[in-house]
Symmetry: C2
Subunit: 209 residues, 2 copies
């Protein structure tokens, strides 16, 4: 059967694939590169996973585990605190340094967002849906239950955009103002700014509807 070296090779392939795909994206990642990093033969991917596409699916199941996200704060907490917990949690994940699994998760998510594959549905279900549900709940608790659907949709998009911001525009900002203050060194400032800006925007929208 399969016990010792099998598991090692298969796991090594999976780990290598996560790294390469997070770095270069699925299209640019080559089977030879992945097998090279895993110390395995070129044919290993096909033997253990059945092909490059199937390996990608296995990678996504590993990187986006089911039912991992459980919310940022108690739903009974005051709205401002809930929003702060939500944004703080999101920001610390997105802007985390290093090559940990969380960073790779958002890197893969970003690439799928820019160039969707059939697997984006899966990623959205695992990664975005629970957070989006929570955010919507927080917004309703701020704007009130009678908020028009369109305002709710716009506001949700707005706060998502604010949180994802640097993830998406980092390449631009590097070229636009290379000496700008980094987010990493001012994470607390950044999150507080986000909360203040978001709440200001939400209240303004609430008053005008």
């Amino acid at each position: 059967m399969n016990e010792k070296n099998d598991v090692n090779t298969k796991d090594a392939l999976l780990a290598a694939a996560i790294g390469v795909i997070a770095d270069k994206g699925f299209d640019a990642a080559t089977v030879r590169d992945i097998c090279g990093r895993a110390g395995a033969n070129v044919a290993a991917v096909n033997y253990h996973f059945g092909g490059k596409d199937a390996l990608y699916v296995a990678v996504l199941r590993e990187v986006f585990p089911k039912g991992e996200y459980n919310g940022s704060a108690s739903s009974s907490a005051p709205p401002r605190e809930r929003l702060h917990a939500f944004l703080s949690n999101l920001a610390s994940e997105i802007y985390e340094r290093g090559n940990g699994l969380v960073a790779q998760r958002w890197a893969i998510f970003l690439r799928e967002m820019a160039k969707p594959s059939p697997n984006l549905d899966f990623i959205v279900r695992r990664q975005v849906q629970p957070r989006a549900d929570e955010l919507r709940d927080i917004i309703v608790s701020i704007l009130g239950p009678d908020t028009p659907e369109q305002v709710l949709a716009f506001a949700s998009s707005n706060i998502w955009a604010l949180a994802l911001d640097h993830l998406l525009t980092q390449s631009i900002l590097d070229r636009l103002s290379p000496q700008r203050p980094t987010v990493h060194g001012n994470m607390e400032d950044f999150v507080n700014h986000l909360v203040t800006f978001s709440l200001g925007g939400l209240h303004a929208v609430k008053g005008s509807s």
Copy 2:
């Protein structure tokens, strides 16, 4: 020399390349596809441009012409009006329907943002810089000249993120809430919402600094 058929073929190649690259991105675009659409031979790209990379440079020079952007509103107008003009102009460009040059411009910009090439510097200089300068000026006129640099940088990023939002997250939103109200049909609502939300956020940030 080159007068009739040369110009025709060269222009046809350029037009075809713009379309294909805006659709699929530079990497996924093949010279055979481009030449096919242009009704030219496979060797035409190398003959007229010297290679695929050089063709891409020519495409970018065509799509991002120099000195095209002249600002959205008079700098003497009231801040709210300037911000409205700025966001309205940006939104109408980004969310414009059809395959016009403006739509292709933002499509190429999005792909470069997600996967930067050495040419992103050029695009930023032509496409982003003038708008970013104007936006910064508008924000200063709202927050005041003594605003800390960090707040200014954060606020600029925030409003850029709000404007680019749907361009970046459209693929997500399609999967998250397929029946959401479209932006295209409510452009005026959307822009007004953006202005209100942004001003609310800015004033909140101003008060807390």
